[in-house]
């Protein structure tokens, strides 16, 4: 066993004090005081944890509310400790309190305090509600935030009193923090107008609890979700927070001695974290090297699952023991088994670390430094990390750390005319668009988002038009002069369509039977001069030129190559996006022979259809997820209220029974919903596939009949 592995570290915490210290400090800017008074903690049990969760209510911790409960079970045991404080803060607090009550560990007085505290809390909530109603107009968002912060800090104060911690410096820093956050709130007021329609449940309106960052958190959720919710709109498939952090470090951190060494300014860190959570824009002054490192670390350590995934994690560690040259093959194999998003994240991290280490002369950071800072978060042994970093170039040959250029807000007049750039931007905009749609489907509808939606849509339309005109001009003779022998071409094209060949081997195959035609055509097919076919095909190409042709194994005509030249630039990127769709979806496959263009055309149609299908399904999934989030928080709220009531009545036994019943019922409901969702998606999916096939058929006919 390696001595620096996290497991060992857990067994001998003292040995690695600095690491574990760092590990525990995330999102808590006042933990210093608690460490000073360890003796109190014995008596008060898990109070510290509770406090953390309360304090975080304003931003970070609430995210945890939506992290699915199942995750707690599936998580790897070594990880659970880290992520605990971000899960179901309200609920877990409840549980803790209950268990404490049951155990009768606490004295009666403390309990009383609890009760009064809760009453006050409730009062406060009611107050907030009233306020909310009074001034529905402008600054209500801001005030709500303020109220939340006030509320929060009061909570903090109470806690502190109980713990008899009187650290004045801490107070001050908190005040400062409050000030700053308020300012920040003003700063991005419209970004944060993420209220959803008021669905009042159990007296507390949803919008008071739910902002976009709260309902659809990006920290502490499975990587895939995080990527869907806030991603880079280019093809890297990374969460924006990771990309921005790596970008910053690549640009400013490689030569810095602070990299993966210095602790961040906690306030600054919290601010940046909140910005990411709320999908707000970040500015250079939000960043510095330690903060960027800490952001990366926080994101990774809060992932419910290891980057290497639960099932492969062990195999990765084992593979480090294998001797070369088998090791590399095994590793490559394992890496290729990773889900797309995990693969991307791992690749970027390792490439980035490699850059850091290669600058050791300047920044004096070696693999140990990185291990010390990130090892626990990554949950990797030093051996594995060292291997991945040193071999990163070989293991991830296609990854290049490029700076992220977000999608444009408006199309400048001098936007480059090259098809490659246009389609790159088009893809970004479409990615952005689908994200906006997903957010709106999740219930976050605001004027600002509406506006964003229309703008993104307009850019997409503009780009499509531009792209079309560029492509038209590059094949100028494609459109006219074709209408010589329509009756001749018609059958030919049909033939070619039937006889087109599969391009990509990895696509799952679904045979479409058309035996009659197949038998009938091939003979003519072979005899026909190539030139004759070429023209109608080009003609066909025109209407759908927004999509690009894919490479084909058959290169029968050199002139075609030239015509598609401009399309080829961006083809690889497109493929990567389509592959994941196509990997799971059956793609129609034609038995045999020639005419790559028609086949390409057909594949493009399918490609487009599947992409659209994908985004639609995505939207649906998202809204379902939101539904679940809603239900969960409803459970949490209910639990809280019941607890309040029963605390007052001092009827503990009932509370637990009732609560458990309710919980079970809601959990069942959730499970049912989940099942429903799966069924629906299955159904929709099957029907869609059939529809798509029909639609393609139709579109092909349409195109053919026109030419």
């Amino acid at each position: 066993m390696d001595f620096e592995s996290p497991d060992v570290e857990k067994d001998f915490p003292g040995l690695y004090a600095s690491e574990s210290g760092r590990k525990s400090n995330e999102s808590d800017f006042s933990d210093g005081a608690e460490h000073e008074k360890p003796s109190k903690k014995d008596l008060l049990g898990r109070r510290k944890e509770k406090k953390e969760s309360k304090k975080d209510r304003g931003y970070a911790a609430l995210e945890g509310e939506s992290s699915p409960e199942e995750d707690t079970d599936t998580k790897s045991p070594s990880k659970s400790k880290k992520t605990k404080s971000f899960k179901f803060p309200t609920k877990s607090k409840e549980k803790r309190e209950k268990s404490r009550d049951k155990e009768k560990v606490l004295e009666e007085t403390v309990k009383h305090k609890e009760v009064t505290e809760k009453d006050k809390k409730k009062e406060k909530e009611r107050e907030k509600e009233k306020k909310e109603k009074e001034k529905k107009k402008e600054k209500d968002k801001e005030k709500e935030e303020k109220a939340k912060f006030k509320f929060e800090s009061r909570e903090k104060l109470k806690d502190e009193k109980k713990e008899k911690v009187k650290d004045k410096d801490k107070e001050k820093s908190k005040e400062k923090e409050k000030e700053k956050v308020k300012e920040k709130d003003k700063d991005k007021k419209d970004k944060k107008l993420t209220k959803i329609q008021s669905t009042v449940t159990s007296g507390v309106p949803f919008e008071e609890i739910f902002t976009l960052g709260v309902a659809l958190p990006i920290f502490g959720v499975p990587l895939q979700q995080s990527v869907e919710r806030s991603r880079c709109h280019d093809d890297t498939g990374l969460p924006l927070v990771v990309r921005d952090s790596i970008d910053y470090l690549q640009a400013h951190g490689l030569k810095s001695k602070d990299i993966y060494r210095t602790e961040p300014d906690k306030i600054k860190f919290q601010q940046l974290r909140k910005l990411f959570t709320d999908r707000g824009p970040t500015f250079p002054y939000h960043w510095d090297v330690p903060v960027a490192c800490a952001m990366l670390k926080a994101f990774i350590s809060e992932l419910p699952e290891s980057i290497l995934t639960q099932e492969l994690h062990g195999q990765f560690e084992q593979a480090t023991a294998i001797a070369e040259p088998q090791r590399e093959a095994t590793m490559t194999n394992l890496i290729n088994k990773l889900p797309n998003c995990n693969h991307n994240l791992l690749a970027w991290l390792m490439r980035h670390f490699q850059h850091v280490v290669s600058n050791e002369q300047v920044n004096q950071a070696n693999i140990q430094t990185i291990m010390a800072a990130m090892g626990a978060a990554l949950n990797m042994s030093l051996n594995l990390l060292t291997y991945l970093v040193t071999k990163s170039e070989k293991l991830f040959p296609n990854v290049r750390l490029t700076k992220y250029v977000p999608p444009l807000h408006s199309l400048p007049a001098d936007f480059p005319d090259s098809a490659a750039e246009m389609s790159a931007e088009l893809r970004k905009q479409e990615s952005l668009l689908s994200q906006i749609h997903a957010e709106m489907h999740a219930g976050f509808i605001t004027a600002a988002r509406d506006q964003q939606l229309w703008e993104a849509q307009r850019i997409v339309t503009q780009l499509k038009r531009k792209l079309r005109s560029v492509q038209k001009s590059t094949e100028p003779n494609a459109v006219p002069t074709q209408q010589s022998s329509v009756d001749e071409k018609q059958p030919d094209e049909e033939t070619t369509r039937v006889c087109s060949q599969p391009t990509e081997a990895e696509k799952p195959v679904r045979e479409v039977e058309r035996p009659g035609r197949e038998v009938e055509r091939p003979v003519r097919e072979v005899e026909r001069p190539v030139r004759e076919v070429e023209r109608p095909v080009r003609e066909v190409e025109r209407p759908i030129d927004a999509f690009e042709p894919k490479e084909s194994p058959l290169d029968q005509d050199a002139t075609f190559e030239a015509e598609f030249e401009d399309n080829f630039d961006f083809k690889p990127d497109k493929k990567t996006t389509t592959d994941e769709t196509q990997a799971t979806e059956p793609v129609q496959d034609k038995p045999k022979l020639t005419e790559k263009e028609l086949k390409v055309l057909r594949l493009e149609l399918e490609n487009a259809e599947y992409l659209q299908l994908k985004s639609l399904l995505q939207a649906k999934i998202n809204s379902e997820q939101f539904e679940i989030v809603k239900l969960r928080s409803y459970v949490a709220l209910k639990n809280k209220q019941e607890c309040n009531l029963q605390n007052n009545k001092d009827a503990k036994e009932n509370s637990s029974v009732d609560e458990q019943e309710l919980k079970q019922r809601l959990m069942k409901e959730n499970a049912l919903l989940e099942q429903k969702r799966l069924n629906l998606i299955n159904q929709i999916f099957q029907e869609r596939v059939a529809c798509i096939q029909l639609k393609i058929e139709l579109a092909m006919k349409e195109i053919l009949s026109k030419s």
Partner: protein
Amino acid sequence: MFSTIAYQLSTKFAEEGKCPCVERRVGMSKKPAAQPTLHKVIMVGSGGVGKSALTLQFMYDEFVEDYEPTKADSYRKKVVLDGEEVQIDILDTAGQEDYAAIRDNYFRSGEGFLCVFSITEPESFDATQEFREQILRVKNDDNIPFLLVGNKSDLADKRRVPLETCRERAHNWQVPYVETSAKTRDNVDKAFLTLIRQMSRVKRGLAAEEDPAPDDAGRCKPSCCSIS
């Protein structure tokens, strides 16, 4: 601390950046300010009735022969309407049900609707009923600017929806009916301009009724509202 100052700066910056857009929104509901009034038009109707063709004809005076199903497209154009310059955002939606989920997001922000059907296709005419209901449901307003448009009037010989039926439905809904041809550009401008007039009338009416424009007016500091 440096970041505190930076935040103040950014706050100011953000406010400054935000004001113009609020201004425009305020101006929209009152009289034209420097920024022309913005109208959001949404094209609805079944697939293949010619929504995109109408839009492209209106926008660029072009008629596209090939049919390519739209997912969603958005255009902006400035027009002079009754001596007043207005800006129109046109959203061309998908007729196919597959994109209904995406369509809904747009319906919500639409201020006027062109409900298009093809006079050669009774099914598309039937579908208008559903679109109408959907729009009313989303907008929750019976007086939403709305126009029933029978397209493909150039194909009179293939007509399968009698003019009377169309007029009757429009009458029942209390909306204008226009028959257009995207191919010949017949009545295309008329259809759009009728709707836009209706929209600006409604907006003016609203502005007169409830004086401080809801939501938006309050969000802005008085200093920048005073312009309008």
